[in-house]
């Protein structure tokens, strides 16, 4: 941090750009804060900028789905102190990684007439390619962890990101558990908190948009869903909508599991 202001780069890969919007939207709280950091590179906010860094912080948005992205990511890593994936796509594969669930060509030809010029690869999270220094989870990334990160940066302390399941926030809010009470297939027990248990607080089940909780026990929840009468396809869908490539949710992707066993 040369003149005391952290230098920040924001990079976008395959995603809906919702996280960057969230960052820009977030300015309403943080005009003061933005004065305290220097945005060196952020395509959505300003043209130009120094793409090559160096950066104190690189915020990475989006799933990695092309070779050039991996190469750029490695370069960023080499000139950056803290690399932080933001949002489910970058953190755990997010929605773009649903495609991993089928043959690449099958998916491509469903969308494009001419697939000959496509160069995309299997979708993976940022940490599959470079070491990272923390995650700001959410879809789009959550305000609480973003605020924690920004204020920690300014205070020079280690950020304390939320690392417990949605169920904890759900209970802190006193919501009646929709999984136990109404047998709705809630992903809360295996999903990282941060949203404040938004969906159960609005009388519906969590669909896991924050991505897997560390150490989640997906198989136990998948078994519970099966006992509730969900089909293997439905269970598989719940565990692949977000976090398809993650080791935590693999055991919940029942259908694929069966294919392997058969």
């Amino acid at each position: 941090m040369s003149d005391g202001k952290p230098r920040i780069g924001v990079f976008k890969y395959s995603c809906c750009a919702g996280c960057e919007f969230q960052l820009i939207f977030f300015q309403k709280h943080v005009l003061e804060t933005l004065g305290k950091v220097e945005i060196v590179f952020c395509r959505m906010l300003q043209s130009g900028g120094v793409e090559e860094g160096p950066f104190d912080v690189a915020l990475i948005e989006g799933t990695i789905t092309e070779q050039w992205q991996i190469e750029q990511l490695r370069k960023i890593r080499s000139v950056t102190t803290y690399v932080i994936p933001i949002g489910s796509c970058a953190v755990c594969g997010g929605v773009p990684a649903i495609k991993n669930n089928e043959q690449e060509y099958t998916i491509q030809s469903r969308v494009y007439e001419d697939t000959s010029r496509l160069t995309s690869i299997r979708a993976h999270s940022v940490d599959q390619y470079v070491p990272v220094d923390g995650y700001i989870k959410g879809c789009p990334m959550g305000e609480r962890d973003l605020a924690e990160f920004v204020t920690s940066l300014l205070l020079g302390k280690r950020p304390e990101f939320i690392q417990y399941p949605v169920c904890v926030e759900c209970k802190l809010q006193h919501n009646i558990c929709v999984l136990v009470a109404y047998h709705w297939p809630c992903m809360g027990p295996v999903t990282n908190a941060g949203c404040g248990a938004l969906c159960p607080s609005h009388d519906r089940e969590c669909y896991g948009c924050w991505g897997p909780m560390k150490n989640a026990h997906a198989r136990a929840l998948a078994n519970r869903f099966a006992k509730m009468g969900l089909s293997e396809e439905d269970i598989c869908r719940r565990f692949t909508e977000f976090g398809e490539p993650t080791v935590e949710w693999k055991p919940g992707q029942v259908r694929r599991w069966d294919v392997v066993q058969k």
Partner: protein, 352 residues
Amino acid sequence: MSTSHSISADNLCRWVDSLAGRFQVLGPVAAKRGQNVFAPIDNSAPLALDYCTTMLGPRFFIYPSVQRLCKIDRETNTYMAADPGPARTQLIFAIHPCDMHAISVLDRTFLGPNKDFYYAKRRQETYTVVLNCSRACDQGFCASMGTGPFLRLTEGFDVVMTALDGEYLLEAGSPRGQELIETAPGLQKTGRMRLYEKSRLEQQAAASFTKSLETEGLPELLMRTFEHPVYKEVADARCLGCSNCVLVCPTCFCYKMVDRVDFEAKIVERSRHWDACQDYWFAEVHDGNFRQPQQARLRQFMTHKLCTWVEQYGCFGCIGCGRCMTWCPTGIDITEMAKEIQRAPTRQLELG
């Protein structure tokens, strides 16, 4: 206990109406889709006195799930207490015996040698009116834990009520409870006969339990069997580490401190949230986690409730409310696990 009185059901409602003028009354009410919850009420109309149990015990009125503790201004170095306690004196109405016992268990933690200022304030400003249970609830085993179906406490509560043939017997547990009873309309002194009927009813209620736990020698047994395979078997098959069991348990006292800083980094607000030993990060310390496998966390929850609590506080940490097993998404039942250990204390893990 001083003389007891009885009151008709109608007068009981009038009594609650009048209490609502003096206190913030908190009682069991119907919630969505057949659930009951404890909530603030303005009069007796919404009361669901025949409720069986609630997902959360009324402990959260005394020990809130999220409680702001203080604010610190970093520039002026000033400190402000942030939870002034309840706005009006609270009165928890129709709290069941197990939950009243749970609060007295919490008292041992928060009002012991390390007295908790915030807890003490709310506890003092909360009246408790207990309603004895005339029937067992599905998952409850309070009769085994000595915490129900009728209240066994002699102090630490204000009034205890028992439904007897359409009337309610009122007995005071404290001078301020006695004073409360005296404000009830249409109060009638009761004779010995009523107290006899009460004990008959208690025996009847106690006999209606289907769930039980043999507590004799249990803490010693659990202490000897920390390596019992049941923890691994249950954790591997079913335990999600989701902490629902802990968070619905009315005696759990663990909390985590959460600090939030404003964007100018001037004001720090500190609050505490209920914490849970089933969480992975609960045991995360510098450079490691001392309860990494789920089985270690499941065992911590169960053995704290049924074993180590006894040494720590001289009572069980479990009051037999059955909430943890009811609200566990996969139905993990600590009484079943304890029974398995009692059945085969020396069983070894089968490999392969």
